[in-house]
């Protein structure tokens, strides 16, 4: 009788199959990266030859030689907060201008890209106010306007291309952090 009692104890081990269950494993590879804010001109330069700047009739500035003239650059910015600004330098020649004469042509340049515009007048130093141009790729059209000479005097003669100035368009990438 005592022997049979000992044999009853191992029966508890038979209950183990309750642990039988299916187990899967899950692996995850997280990948991340970033894209820096960037602006690039794919066509960074253009030349606008205005030709003869003075009127044949009276020798004064022919504003039609400047106003409405356009040049097109191309480029892109990849950030929604990218800005565009314009800096103008007046047309001048090295020949001195005595009283009654002018050797300088001022103007306003307006750049349009992605339906945004930025402008600057050469009458004031420095760049004009920057505009948000955002995410875009394509043309940056620069148009001249508001041409003037300092005294509306006679334009000093120069050789072909002797009056030089420039319009600088600056695209600045700005990245707004995304939450």
């Amino acid at each position: 009788m005592r022997k049979l009692m000992f044999l009853a104890i191992p029966a508890v081990l038979v209950a183990s199959p309750a642990f039988a269950q299916s187990t899967s494993v899950t692996g995850t590879v997280n990948i991340d990266g970033s894209v820096a804010g960037r602006c690039t001109f794919t066509l960074p330069n253009a030349t606008l030859s205005l030709g003869e700047l003075s009127l044949a009739s009276n020798g004064k500035l022919d504003t039609s030689r400047v106003n409405g003239k356009t040049a097109t650059l191309t480029g892109w910015c990849n950030s929604t907060a990218a800005t565009m600004a314009v800096t103008t330098t007046q047309l001048t020649t090295g020949t001195a201008a005595p009283t009654g004469f002018d050797n300088r042509v001022d103007y306003t340049a307006t750049a349009v890209a992605n339906s945004a515009s930025a402008s600057d007048s050469s009458l004031t130093a420095g760049a004009g106010a920057a505009s948000t141009v955002g995410l875009f790729t394509g043309n940056i059209v620069v148009t001249l306007s508001a041409a003037s000479s300092p005294s509306n005097g006679l334009m000093v003669a120069s050789g072909p291309g002797g009056y030089t100035g420039n319009v600088v368009v600056t695209l600045t990438p700005t990245v707004t952090p995304v939450g």
């Binding site: 269950q21 187990t23 899950t26 990266g33 990849n78 990438p173």
Partner: protein, 185 residues
């Protein structure tokens, strides 16, 4: 007469003894089971994780880098399964950012994930899933996973934007993932 009676009684007692010598039999039945299971080595856990930080995703011209698959390389893991019918599912999620996009731009990079396993016999791998389509449902390997190190290897390929000329939208946070589930049955 008394002497005879005593003899008879003693004899009867001796003859009765053999009735106590009977055998008894005890039996212990042993049973057990092994659950179908997979586990990750080392640690015997149920998950494995790794992170690939690509850094800058765009080339100088603004389009997606062409070396991302190389940069990802091969991620190896060791998974032990104790069945002959393991299955694998794969879910690749594109590298993407919430930054808004525009014509000519893209804010996500699709790719294909490939999960190769080492098996003892028939091997239906590699198990593929492109981030542009639905996840690969649980698919039979074909035979048991080999009981060997690095028996699960993950690679990627074909990183791309919607159009090859698309520029990537600037963002410090592009994120994606590859989730692999290996089940014993």
């Amino acid at each position: 007469m008394k002497k005879i009676a005593l003899f008879a009684a003693a004899t009867a007692a001796v003859l009765a003894t053999p009735a106590m010598a009977q055998n008894v039999t005890g039996t212990i039945n042993l049973t057990g089971s092994v659950a179908a299971k997979c586990s990750v080595t080392p640690g015997d856990g149920s998950t494995f994780t790794d992170t690939v930080a690509f850094g800058e995703l765009a080339k100088t011209d603004g389009t997606v880098r062409t070396d991302l698959a190389t940069a990802f390389g091969t991620k190896s893991f060791t998974v032990k399964c104790n069945t002959g019918t393991p299955k694998v599912s794969v879910d690749a999620t594109a590298l993407a950012t919430a930054a808004p996009t525009s014509t000519g731009y893209d804010n996500s990079i699709d790719f294909q994930a490939a999960v190769a396993v080492t098996a003892v016999g028939v091997n239906n791998g590699p198990f593929l899933n492109d981030s542009s389509v639905a996840p690969l449902a649980s698919t039979a390997v074909g035979s048991a996973l080999a009981n060997s190190a690095s028996n699960v290897q993950i690679t990627t390929s074909n990183y791309r934007t919607n159009n090859a000329t698309d520029l990537l939208v600037a963002s410090p946070t592009y994120a994606g993932s590859i989730v692999v589930v290996i089940s014993p049955t």
